[in-house]
Amino acid sequence: MLAMHNRPPRSLDRLIQAGIAPRRARRILQEFAEHHADVVAERQVLGDSDRDARVAAGARLGTEHQLVANLLARPELRSWTHRRPSIAFALAPVLSFALAFVASLLALIALVEWRKAHGDALGAASPVIHRIGTYAGPYLLWALPCAVAALVALTAARRRESSIWPCVGIVAVCCVGALTNFSVSTSPDAPSMGAGIGIGTDHLGATLLRAGGATALVLLPFLRARWLQRHDLGALS
């Protein structure tokens, strides 16, 4: 495991920053270290001292620096998120949020229909309607956009991507999330649900507050994490 201990501390970071997926980058370095250990063991069986075995292993495998250079010379190993950051971190999250919003609404409708089919009288006092009224609103209007934006932030931080497109994506998801609306009417005659997307001048303040709140909730920790990553890398170099 000498190769693991002697690994230049930035090998993994260099690979990830160059766009190689973190899982693949870790796997390659692990395979390289295991191979190094196998060659050392092979040479020791042949009678080499520990030091000679390690020198021989280094000569056969090359250095980790050379491995990294070889990997960076292969553009096909770079992930598509690195090659198309605008799609991966801005467009796809907005579409994913829209799909998740619609899927959640369909799930709620399916739940109501299923309960009706089983003979539940879904009046205003129904616990199902009450639960939907209590939990679905905060979920759809706050938790869902924040979760999608947080996923963008986590993915970008993990892949050490440039912050520009992830920031655009986070702001876009939070703004689109703030434009959505959802309501449950518990009118005794006919309880109903309504959802949509749009902006109205009467709710402009609330919309801006939601957009700003969700953005701050996700963007500030993300920028802090990126700053710390850059600080760590700077300290290592």
Binding site: F32, H35, G62, L67, L77
Partner: protein
């Protein structure tokens, strides 16, 4: 050289699945040590072939050590047939030129 290593890797993996160290030994044995590539170069090549869908990787723990075994996919097998034909065509042409008395 990258075309040759690709051909060799696919050919050897068409016989059985292997991990990196095994493959390096198999290349030396199969080419009677005529081809000696830095063993570290195997991994970029293997991952590139995997990324293109010609190999699949499977992680196993053997005697407490993590091994990543590589095996050929169907697409890899088709690609191997294609590049083997291409290699035979080219090497046949070079052999013909070398054997031609006019160029000897």
């Amino acid at each position: 050289m990258s075309g040759i290593s690709e051909l060799l890797l696919l050919r050897l993996l068409s016989e059985r699945q292997m991990y990196g160290y095994e493959l390096a030994r198999a290349i030396r044995a199969a080419t009677r040590q005529a081809i000696s590539v830095g063993e570290g170069v195997l991994y970029p090549a293997l991952h590139s072939l995997e990324r293109r869908g010609w190999l699949k990787a499977r992680r196993c723990t053997v005697n407490g050590r993590t091994r990543v075994y590589y095996a050929l996919t169907r697409a890899g097998l088709r690609h191997l047939k294609r590049i083997t034909q291409e290699w035979r065509r080219i090497s046949g042409g070079v052999d013909a030129a070398l054997l031609d008395a006019r160029y000897a």
